[in-house]
């Protein structure tokens, strides 16, 4: 092994230093060289956080957006799981319907965003529906794949030992589904966040899309940066929550 002599700092600390360095670079360049109408130093964005959280309308907008994300996610997971199981458990439906699902999944969904607004209006309903249309397909596809990985000998063994349909489901199919269930949840969450945010940015009357547009059009970058940072933090929290659950529960499979 030609491993070089170990550096003094652990990678985590160096990473932190890199991030701090970038922030300092940004601060200096924004403070001294950039047009304040377009770019603001990160310190001002942090100060603007206070303004954002003291404005009840903006807090309400953030709440609405989180509500849209969570609702869309829960519906995607519930429906995606059910549809995925229904499709995956029978050979016929898998042949007939899975290609249709994959075809729908391949649609560039941003292009049908106006349809959702036409059907559901400009309120939260359209965002939730669009989030679901993003989130449901990864859940369906991973659920079907999870059912597919079910080992046939296990099913045969259970049946030959006289297990009922219900017992087969609770003792074999469900435990086997758990890892792919959580993978589906993680992929679904990423997709739901994308869908809800796209719909919010497209048209919005009360959610955060309205405020990002307002701040951009009134040239107040500190507020815009702060709002985007808050949303990014929410998105990362939701994503990481799913990822942690996935890691925790996929250990199951190693039995």
């Amino acid at each position: 092994m030609s491993e070089r002599r170990g550096p003094l700092l652990s990678p985590g600390i160096t990473r932190l230093l890199v991030i701090i360095g970038l922030l300092v670079l940004w601060e200096v360049s924004a403070r001294f060289y950039a047009d304040p109408l377009f770019l603001c130093p990160p310190s001002q964005a942090v100060m603007a956080l206070k303004h954002i959280f003291s404005e009840p309308k903006i807090v309400k907008a953030i709440e609405i957006t989180v509500y849209e994300m969570v609702t869309a996610f829960l519906v995607s997971v519930a429906f995606g799981m059910t549809v995925g199981l229904a499709i995956g458990l029978h050979g016929f439906t898998k042949q007939a319907i899975l290609p249709v699902v994959l075809l729908l999944y391949a649609i560039p969904q941003a292009t049908i965003l106006p349809l959702f607004v036409l059907s559901f209006g400009i309120g939260p309903a359209a965002k939730i529906a669009f989030g679901i249309s993003h989130g449901i397909f990864p859940v369906i596809v991973t659920t079907v794949a999870g059912v597919q990985n079910l080992r046939a000998p296990l099913l045969t063994a259970a049946k030959s030992m006289g297990a009922s349909r219900f017992q087969v489901f609770t003792s074999i199919i469900f435990p086997h589904m758990i890892p792919s269930f959580f993978t589906g949840m993680r992929l679904g969450m990423t997709a739901v966040l994308l869908g809800v945010l796209l719909a919010e940015l497209y048209v919005s009357t009360a959610g955060i899309g309205f405020y990002t547009r307002l701040f951009a059009e009134s040239f107040s970058p500190p507020d815009l940066f702060a709002l985007i940072a808050v949303l990014a933090a929410i998105a990362v929290t939701l994503n990481e929550g799913c990822r942690t659950m996935e890691r925790r529960f996929s250990r199951w499979h190693a039995m």
Binding site: P11, V18, A96, V100, I107, T111, P114, L197, L201
Partner: protein
């Protein structure tokens, strides 16, 4: 054979359901236009040149974004992968940034680069950069150490080591990153155009929707869908070819 028949049957069932739903008394034609005018308009789109200016705008944005993202991604990925320490520093950093939905940056890009092609190229580049850089790092830094040791002990210089050992091992992984980058760049540019833009496929669809010309809009959506599927097929084919070509 019977599999194809079943799929064809489902497809026909969907078309029939679409037709029946739009019969008088069914779904309002503004929400769901009847299939026949949609396909007629789609035919018109394919045979006339009316869509070309918008198509050209979108394709140019997409190609620019993909070139920028793949160059930057491969270069930075290569530089990072040269030292194991840098991989441990930067790989989690890129992976962490990747979990932020990059579409959030779009309002900022609109502010920086304006409503025109610039903001779409920027969002496409940002979104496509991450799969490329992460796969490049993964490909180059997880080459089996035994190969490297063997090549070195047989006296390979660093260029030989790179072209004959590292690249053949890493290339398939890098290609996967490029394929993903290519597709997400296209999708995110369509998304950006939908949110706000002056020209392009997404812009065309939105303005048709806002003028309530839904059958035209469906035809354009069909066009975008067909394009996405063709792009998907082409890049998957290119990936498979490239994979074989380097062995």
């Amino acid at each position: 054979m019977s599999k194809r028949l079943v799929q064809l049957g489902v497809l026909i069932a969907i078309l029939v359901a679409w037709y029946v739903a739009t019969l008088p008394g069914g779904v309002h034609p503004l929400l769901l236009p009847p299939p026949i005018p949609v396909f007629r308009n789609f035919g018109v789109l394919l045979t006339t040149s009316s869509i070309w200016p918008d198509l050209f705008v979108t394709v140019r944005e997409w190609v620019t974004a993909f070139c920028l993202a793949s160059t930057a991604g491969c270069l930075i990925g290569y530089l990072v992968s040269r030292s194991g320490y840098a991989v441990r520093v930067f790989d989690p950093l890129f992976a962490g940034l990747y979990s932020v939905p990059a579409i959030l940056l779009f309002p900022l890009y609109l502010l920086f680069f304006g409503l025109g092609a610039g903001s779409k190229i920027a969002i496409g580049t940002t979104i496509a950069f991450f799969p490329v850089v992460l796969n490049t790092i993964a490909g180059l830094s997880y080459v089996d150490k035994a190969y490297i040791t063997a090549a070195k002990s047989m006296g390979a210089n660093s260029a030989q080591l790179f072209w004959s050992v590292m690249m053949p091992a890493a290339f398939p992984v890098i290609l996967t990153g490029l394929r993903l980058g290519c597709i997400v760049a296209f999708l995110s540019i369509l998304g950006g155009e939908t949110i706000s833009s002056l020209a392009g496929l997404g812009h065309r669809i939105v303005s048709l929707a806002e003028n309530m010309e839904t059958s035209q809009m469906f035809a354009n959506i069909l066009f975008a869908v067909a394009m996405a599927i063709i792009i998907n097929g082409l890049v998957s084919f290119a990936e498979a070819r490239g994979r074989r070509g380097f062995q």
